[in-house]
């Protein structure tokens, strides 16, 4: 079963603590070594992106940033044997943030990829 995880957050004013990146990398290595994490990447702030909207027959292209929403931070693709496994890996990822960067608040969506 394949899941996409989308992390969104409001970045606090304080810079990320020194150990955060290290801890994230270590967890990523673990998840890769377990054969579960098969793809992931960080996302640039929405200022670097754009949004295309279709409504009422009109197509509009708007450049970022998108101030009305939280920023999307990163995505990850996991291949696991149950939804609970996906939730467990994602929880470990979120706990690293909680424990190392107390000011940080964010959420991660876990979506199952449709497979044929």
């Amino acid at each position: 079963m394949r899941y996409v995880m989308l992390l969104e957050a409001t970045q606090p004013q304080t810079p990320p603590p020194a150990g955060l990146m290290e801890a994230i990398m270590k967890l990523g290595e673990e998840a890769t070594a377990a054969g579960a994490l098969i793809d992931n990447a960080g996302l640039l702030p929405s200022a670097a992106g754009a949004r295309i909207t279709v409504t009422g027959g009109d197509l509009t292209v708007t450049d970022g940033p998108f101030t009305e929403t939280k920023e999307m931070i990163s995505y990850a693709v996991y291949e696991v044997r149950s939804k609970e496994e996906a939730v467990e890996w994602c929880s470990r990822f979120m706990k690293v943030h909680r424990d190392l960067w107390p000011e940080w608040a964010g959420s991660c969506r876990i979506l199952q990829v449709m497979e044929f």
Partner: protein
Amino acid sequence: MSPNRRSDRPDVRRVVEAVYRIESARIIGALARLVRDVGVAEELAQDALVVALEQWPDRGVPDDPGPWLMATAKHRAIDYLRRQETYRRKLAVVGAEDGFSEETAIVDALDDHIGDDTLRLIFTACHPSLTTESQVALTLRMLGGLRTDEIARAFLTTQASVSQRILRAKKALRGVAFELPPASEAPARLSAVLGTVYLIFNEGYSATAGADWARPELAKEALRLGRVLCGLMPDAPEVHGLTALMELQASRIGARTDAEGRPVLLADQDRRRWDRLLIRRGLAALARAEELGTLGPYGLQAAIAAGHARARAFEDTDWSRIAALYRLLSHVAPSAVVELNRAVAVGMADGPAAGLELLDGLRLPGYPHLPAARGEMLERLGRTAEARAAFAEAARLTRNDAERAVFTRRASSA
């Protein structure tokens, strides 16, 4: 730290199982190094699983469920060692003195070498003293954390027979040291490990018997094991070769059955349904294998699979290159099945007459794909009656229901 609030989490049992599956190999590996018996280590890990199943529903899932399971299992191991007369000797090994510090020393000793332990566990599960069936069952059980009933379902056998296999295997391993193979045996032992993983993959990818054409979950589990092996043996070319092969073959799983679950052959597959992420990973793993040295049997098969993955349409396939790769493969791993596949590739590259000539030199009694390939060549040569007879023979020989349906259809439509 307080237990997690997991509000919409009705079935804690499934959470326990998920955590156990993630952690089982690490836990069993760590315990096996200490108790020097993988069978005992696996039972101690199971004990920890039972404790979690008892406690988590009432007390909540611990904040760090993985380390919790590991710590619980370690305590079981310490209790076990206390009951063993060899306890004193073990303590000498870890250099501890007495009392509580003994426990600390054991626990500290357990904390090292996680990767090495998992590797030892894989080599032990695929030990040459075990039958192939036992190697498969033990690998799925200890490295995959699968339950006996899940293994039984995957191999269309009974739970009792899988339990028997596992029991026999644990018994056979009782005197076997929990060690990596010595350098002189390493190539043969590695080849046994890779063979077991690929056997599991194939049982899932092209079910040899039964109603399903494929059991994707089993193939995916083998692929996961391959990925684990890549992390444990990053410099072994064939490990990457095998994983590349499985990634590339798995990329086609979605396209190789139709809506009714009937097989769709390579030529007829909708390539837009191939899994691009798995193809990308497969090509990367193949590149890694090539970087590390000369391709072995798995690497060559991966290179062949890559030839298909790179072709945007069946007509774009570089059959000459694939035929050449099969020729190399038949040198490093000669077998009649490889010759059969080479004949098919030659038939595509140089025409059906050339392919048929190679096929006619082959003997593969009881193997349905030989008459099926002959049927294909004969049909393209316009020798309809012979083609029909060949497909009918293929249909008679296969033990897979879905495959039989395809051959039967070809026998009447050729």
